[in-house]
Amino acid sequence: MNLTPQDYQVLTPYILLTTWASVLLLVDLFIPKERKSLTALLAALGLAVTLGFTLSQIGIEQTGFYSMVVLDGFSTFVNALLLLSGILGVALAHGYIKRMGIERGEYYTLLLFSVSGMMLMAQATDLIVVFIALELLSIPLYVLAAFARPQISSEEAGMKYFLLGAFATGFVVYGTALVFGATGSTNLYAILASASNGTSNLLLTIGAALVLVGFGFKVAAVPFHMWTPDVYQGAPTAVTAFMASGAKIAGFAALLRVFATAFPTLAVDMTDILWALAALTMILGNLIAISQTDIKRMLAYSSIAHAGYILMAFVPYGDPAVRDVSIAAGLFYLVAYAFTNFGAWGVVIALEKKEEKGLAIADYAGLGRKHPALAAAMTVFMLSLVGLPPTLGLVGKFYLFRAVIAAGFTGLAIIGVLTSLISAYYYLRVVVTMYMKDGEPSAERETWLGLTTALTAIITVVVSLVPQSLFAWASEAVLKLF
C-alpha cells in the first residue's frame, strides 16, 4: 500500500469533518448542560470550515485510494450543498431541541457524522465505499429520528427507519455481491470496463436493479416509500428537515454516480424502470398528499413527490446527447428543493408546540394576519414547491422538464406537469388556511430559526431571478462525470 498526500487531498473535507465531529464529541463532555448552544456553534463552525475548504477545491479533478474515491466537480457541488444543508440543519435544530426539552450535545455530533457519510457517498467510486458511506450516513439518522424518546412516535420513527433502512442496505449489499459476481470487481470503472466487453449479463442487470431498490428506499421513491410518512412525522421536526434534504441529496448523488459511471450499458433496460419509478412516485406522492391534514405528513408526501421529479432527470442517463443537461437539471432541482424544503420545515418548527401540538394544517389559520412575515415566507415556499413564479421551484421545473422533453420523454413531462397541477391543490390549501381563515396561531420567535427561514425565502425568490451562475455551476459539475 502506497498512499500519497494526493490520496488524502481527495478526502480532505471528509477527513476534516469526521475529525471535527470526533473531537466535538469529546469537547461536548466538558460543556455544561445549560450551555449546549456552544456545541451547536462549534458544529456549525465545523461545517462552515469544511464548506470553505470544499469550495477551495472547485476545479480540482483527482482520484484517490486506488480509485475508490474521487474528487471532481460533481462531488464538490454535491458536498457544498450537503454542508450547507448541515448548517441549515443545525440552525433549525438549535432552538427547537431546547424548546422541546431534548437538548443533548450528541445531536450535533450525530448530525456531523451523518453529513460526513453523505459526503463520502458523493465521492465514492467503489461499491464497497458506497456501502460504508451509506451506513455512516444512515446510522446517525436512525438515532436522530428517535431522539425525542421517550416520546412514543419518535421511538417508532427511529425503529421503523432503522428496520426498513437496514432492509434497504441489504438490497444494496446483495446487489453489490451480484455485480461483483458478474464483473469480478466492485470498482465502478472496472465494472464498466468489464460490462462493455459485450455479452449482455443478466446477473449484472439484477445486481444493478437491486442497488436501485436500495437507493429507492433512501430517496423515498414509490414503491419503496412506505416508511417516509411515519418517520417524517414521528422524528423531531428539525431532524426531518435535515433528513428530507440531506438524505435525498446523498441518495441521488450516489445513484447518479453509480449508474452513470458503472451501468451506462444497462441503460436500455434501466430507462424503462426509471421512467416507471419516476412516474409512479410523482403520481402517488402527489395524490396521497391531497388527503393529509397534518403538515408534517403532507410535507412527507410532498418530499416523495419531489423524489419523483428528480428521478425524471435520471431517466435519459444512457443517452450521451442529453445526459449532461439532464443531470445538471437534476442537480439544480436538488438545490432548489433543499432551500425550499428547509424554509418550509423552518416554518413548521416555528409553529410546533410541545407534545406534537400545532402540527395540523388547521393550526395555520390566521397566520397571515398574526405573523405576516412568516406567512409570506411560507407562501413563497408553497409556491416554489408547486413551481410557480417568482421562485426557484419554477426555474427548477423549467430546467427539468426541458431536459426531459429534449430527451424525447414527452409523456413523462406531461405526467410531471399534470401532477404539479394536482400538487397546487394541497400546497394552496396551506396558503388558504393562512390567509383566508381566522385563527389565533402563535409562533416562536427564535433568532436562528427566523434567520434561516428569512434567508431561504429570500434565496428562493432572488436566485430564481438571477439563476445564471447556479445554472453554470451545475452544468460544469457534471461535465467530467462521464
Partner: protein, 503 residues
C-alpha cells in the same frame, strides 16, 4: 441604470415602487396607503401615455425594445425582452387606465387589510403589464403565471361568501391550461434554440403535425383564460365572488390576456395550424356567443348576469380573431378594449349599488332611476354600450368583427357570422331586461329595506362619479370617432394577416 430607465421596464415595474413604499407604512394608516397606491397607479398611467407619445404606429416592428441576455448557459438562451407594437399598445394602455380606476373604486368598499389589498393589486398590475410586453416566452410565462397569485389572494381574502372555492377553482383551472403551454414553450425553446418570439416567428418551419399539438397546448392556456365555451365554468364563480375591483380587472384585463395570447402567439407562431383550426374556433366562439347570452338572461344575480355576458362578448372577440382578415382582427382588438371599458363599468356600477344594499338579486330592485337619477342614467349609457348601440363603443367593435367574419376565407362559412349577429340582439334582451327590472317599474322592496337601516339609498357621490366618468368618456369617444384607435393598430394587424397562409 440604463436597464431601469428603459420606458417599458419602467412601465412594467413602476408599481413595485409603490409596493415597497406601502410595505413600510403602518397598516392602520389606511388612507395614506390608498393614496400611495392611487398615486403609484396614476404615475404608471402617466408612463403609459409617455410610451404612447413615443410609439410610431406606422412601424410594424416591436418598438421601445428592452433586450438583455438573462440566462445563457447550457443551451439556454433566455432573454429579458420587452417590446410593444400595434397589437399590444391598446391593451397596455387599458391596463394602466383601469388600475387607478379600480383602486379608486375600493376607497370605501375595502376596509379590511387595506395594506395587503393594495400590495396585491399593484403586484397584479406588474404581472398584467408584463404579460402584454414580454417578447421572450420564458419571461412571458413568468408574468403569465405570476398574475394568478395576486388575483388568487384578491378573490380569496376580500371576496364573497364562497370566495375560497372560487379562488381555488380560478387558480387550478387557469394553471391546468398554462402548464400544457409550458411544455409547448419548452419544445419551442429546444427547437429554435431561443425563446424570443420574433426570432421563433422568423424561423418558422415547424412540421405541421407538431405545429398542431403546440397550437393545441397554447390554446389550452388561452382558451381557459378567455374563457371560450365550454371552458368557461370558472368565470362566473370568480366574478361573483371577487371584490368589485377584482371583477373589473378580471373582466377588463385578465380575460384579454387570453385573447391577446392568440394574437401574439398562436397566429404568428403556428400559422398553418391556426388556419386549420379557424372553423372550429369560430364554431366554439359562436356557441359561446349564443350560450353566454342565453345563460345571462336566466340569471337572478346581476353580477352573474354581467359575468355570463362576458362569455358572450369574448365569443365575438374570438370570432374576429379567427376571421383572420384585417377587419376581423382589428375589430377583435378594439372589442377587447370595448369589453374592458363597458364590462368594467358595469361591474363598477353593480359594486356601487351593492355597497349600499348588500344584495345583487335582481328581483329585489326596481324603480331605481327615480331615486338615484345620476346612477340610473350612467347605468343606461353603459348598458347600451354593452349591447352595442350605434354611437357607442360596443357597436363599432361588434360591427367590424361581423364584417370580418362575413368575408372570412379562413372560417369559410357565413353561417357563423349570421348566427353570431343574433347574439347582438340577444344582448339587447338580457341587458334591457336587467335595466328594466332594476331601474324602471315599481319601487323594489330593497329601497324600504335599506331605509329601515337608517339611511336611504343615495345617488353617486363625487368619488364614484370621478371613478366612472373616464370610462364614459372613452365609451363615447370610441363610439363616435374610432379612427385614432384603429390607426394605432392597423399597420400591425395588416402585417400579421400578411403572415397567415390563408387558402
Amino acid at each position: 441604470m440604463e436597464f431601469l430607465l428603459q420606458p417599458l421596464t419602467l412601465l412594467t415595474f413602476f408599481p413595485l415602487l409603490g409596493v415597497l413604499v406601502i410595505l413600510f407604512i403602518n397598516a392602520e394608516a389606511k388612507n395614506i396607503i390608498r393614496w400611495v397606491a392611487l398615486v403609484t397607479s396614476l404615475i404608471t398611467f402617466g408612463i403609459s401615455l409617455w410610451v404612447l407619445t413615443m410609439f410610431d404606429a406606422s412601424n410594424v416592428n416591436l418598438q421601445l425594445v428592452a433586450r438583455y441576455n438573462w440566462i445563457t448557459v447550457a443551451g439556454w438562451n433566455i432573454q429579458y425582452f420587452l417590446g410593444i407594437d400595434g397589437l399590444s399598445i391598446l391593451l397596455v394602455l387599458l391596463t394602466a387606465f383601469l388600475t387607478p380606476i379600480s383602486i379608486l373604486s375600493t376607497w370605501t368598499a375595502i376596509e379590511e387589510r387595506v395594506k395587503d389589498f393594495m400590495i396585491f393589486f399593484l403586484l397584479l398590475e406588474v404581472g398584467m403589464t408584463g404579460v402584454f410586453l414580454a417578447q421572450d416566452l420564458f419571461l412571458f410565462y413568468i408574468f403569465w403565471e405570476f398574475t394568478l397569485v395576486p388575483m388568487y389572494f384578491l378573490i380569496g381574502i376580500w371576496g364573497g361568501p364562497r370566495r375560497i372555492y372560487a379562488a381555488i377553482k380560478f387558480f387550478l383551472y387557469t394553471m391546468a391550461g398554462s402548464i400544457l403551454m409550458l411544455l409547448a414553450i419548452l419544445w419551442l425553446g429546444i427547437y429554435g434554440g431561443t425563446f424570443s418570439v420574433p426570432d421563433l416567428v422568423a424561423l418558422g418551419g415547424i412540421p405541421a403535425d407538431i405545429q398542431w399539438w403546440l397550437f393545441l397546448a397554447f390554446t389550452a392556456a388561452f382558451a381557459i383564460k378567455v374563457p371560450m365555451w365550454p371552458l368557461h365554468s370558472w368565470l362566473p364563480d370568480a366574478h361573483v365572488e371577487a371584490p368589485t375591483a377584482g371583477s373589473v380587472i378580471l373582466a377588463g384585463v385578465l380575460l384579454k390576456m387570453g385573447t391577446y395570447g392568440f394574437v401574439r402567439f398562436n397566429l404568428p407562431l403556428f400559422p398553418e395550424a391556426a388556419v386549420r383550426a379557424a372553423p372550429w374556433i369560430a364554431l366554439f366562439a359562436t356557441i359561446g356567443i349564443i350560450y353566454g347570452a342565453m345563460v345571462s338572461y336566466a340569471q337572478k344575480d346581476v353580477k352573474k348576469l354581467v359575468a355570463y355576458s362576458s362569455v358572450s362578448h369574448l365569443g365575438f372577440v374570438m370570432l374576429g380573431l379567427f376571421a383572420m382578415n384585417p377587419q376581423g382582427i382589428a375589430g377583435a382588438i378594439l372589442q377587447m378594449i370595448n369589453h374592458g371599458l363597458s364590462t368594467g363599468a358595469l361591474f363598477l356600477l353593480v359594486g356601487m349599488i351593492y355597497e349600499q344594499t348588500h344584495t345583487r338579486e335582481i328581483k329585489v330592485y326596481g324603480g331605481l332611476w327615480k331615486i338615484t337619477p345620476v346612477f340610473g342614467s350612467i347605468m343606461l349609457i353603459v348598458s347600451l354600450s354593452s349591447m352595442g348601440l350605434p354611437g357607442l363603443n360596443g357597436f363599432v367593435g361588434e360591427f367590424t368583427i361581423l364584417l370580418g367574419a362575413f368575408g372570412s376565407q379562413a372560417i369559410g362559412n357565413t353561417a357563423y357570422a349570421i348566427v353570431s349577429a343574433l347574439g347582438v340582439i340577444m344582448a339587447a334582451v338580457y341587458i334591457l331586461y336587467m335595466f328594466q327590472k332594476m331601474f324602471l317599474g315599481p319601487q323594489g322592496e330593497i329601497v324600504d329595506e335599506v331605509k329601515q337601516h337608517g339611511h336611504a339609498l343615495r345617488d353617486l357621490n363625487w368619488r364614484e362619479i370621478v371613478t366612472i366618468v373616464p370610462l364614459l368618456l372613452f365609451i363615447f369617444w370610441i363610439g363616435l370617432y374610432p379612427k385614432p384607435f384603429f390607426a394605432l393598430m392597423a399597420p400591425a394587424v395588416e402585417h400579421l394577416v400578411g403572415m397567415l397562409p390563408i387558402p
